[in-house]
Symmetry: C2
């Protein structure tokens, strides 16, 4: 099963201070790109896998979604999500996505932000998502890019010429990676982009868009520290349709 690192007190406290926690969707620089890939939300049935504080659930509802379900492994995240949401059409449920059963639900949108790289078996999850999508429904997710997750010792390095580069190794060696981020020993699963895309195709989904996300010139002007995302992508955004 996936590691429940978000319930680690130190991790939770650190995560709570990130801009994407304090400012919600607008605090995540990839949000404008993800938003462009959303289907119409009015009247839609939506599920958010790894919903965290529930920012996207509330956004979907504000855009007119008929029903929204947020699923997360972290009891602490869900506690705050529930406290921040006063809306009978938004429900939260604690579950491990590696085992989550969608039941006989039928969704127009399955959304997942920065969660899938924690899961052990995405091929099985994609098959369950495919079965839970209404015809024409969309799976839209962001995940850490394999260039970012691959290295055995990830980090920017100065090369012999004094230039900042992102050294890659281990790209095709898939499996767990332990990194220290907000807490020691955070476990993620590294998979090639090909593996992820072929798992979607194998589940019967049609790839609609693949974006190795980076900031716009405008975003870099406002937040110069984002420029490095154009040197090596940290995130990939994928839309796939039933």
């Amino acid at each position: 099963m996936a590691q429940n690192i978000y319930d680690d007190p130190g991790f939770f406290a650190g995560y709570a201070q990130l801009r994407r926690s304090t400012d919600g969707l607008d605090g995540a620089p990839e949000w404008p790109a993800l938003r462009r890939l959303l289907p119409p939300l009015r009247g839609a049935r939506v599920i958010d896998l790894g919903c965290g504080y529930g920012w996207f659930c509330r956004y979907a509802r504000a855009q007119g979604a008929a029903q929204v379900l947020g699923v997360d492994l972290s009891a602490r995240m869900l506690e705050r999500a529930r406290a921040d949401t006063g809306d009978a059409a938004v429900e939260y449920r604690q579950a491990d996505l590696d085992r989550y059963a969608f039941g006989d639900a039928s969704y127009d949108l399955v959304y997942s932000s920065l969660t899938l790289h924690y899961l052990d078996d995405i091929a099985a999850l994609f098959a369950r998502i495919r079965a839970a999508l209404a015809p024409g429904g969309r799976l839209l997710f962001s995940a850490e890019h394999p260039i970012y997750t691959a290295p055995r010792h990830p980090g920017w390095t100065l090369d012999a010429r004094g230039r900042r580069t992102w050294p890659v190794d281990g790209y095709r060696h898939e499996g767990p990676r332990l990194t220290d981020w907000l807490a020691p020993g955070v476990r993620k699963q590294h998979r090639t982009l090909g593996t992820v895309l072929n798992a979607l195709i194998g589940a019967g989904l049609r790839i609609a868009h693949v974006e190795e996300w980076g900031p716009s010139a405008e975003q870099v002007a406002r937040q110069p520290e984002l420029a490095e995302e154009n040197e090596r992508p940290m995130l990939v955004l994928v839309a796939a349709d039933r």
Copy 2:
């Protein structure tokens, strides 16, 4: 238009000594993986974009293809392709793929090995390929992987710990890259994988398989120098269907 580097005498002489030149398809370690993605060739109409010496054209014909057309920019390559092929059902044509017009042909397979990264405008090419594919037809290509083409100064490097890594920068900075390989100033076009896949989707093709190629354990046992391809992929194989 694409650079005609294969007609450079030094490049041509160097290329002629590569295993993929002397041993044909079996001299290319990615060939078994590409072959697995081929549609049935018996009776098929096939075009090979960047056919070089014509190895694949002759293979397709030997597998029962009804008609095979090889297209290449290099007069030297085509001269040898014609000399090595005595078969009225295999034709060769010199053309720049950035401008090539498919006419009213209808192909079951558009094949291209290690050619597309030389071209200026793949979106326009994919649209022309889509129009030239028969319903159910397949585009199958290999190209240099963007992890390989991205860096401003590509090459393996020893990091501070003495480990061999492939430093990446410039990933989202698309455009020409000049490298010295067999001859100085070989011009390739760097594009993100997302750009390539979205161009296929935008042309109306359905992504069927994406493989960031690396050798099998068996191949590494026979050719230990291939192991580095599992650390950072040099090639990507893509199948997309009409």
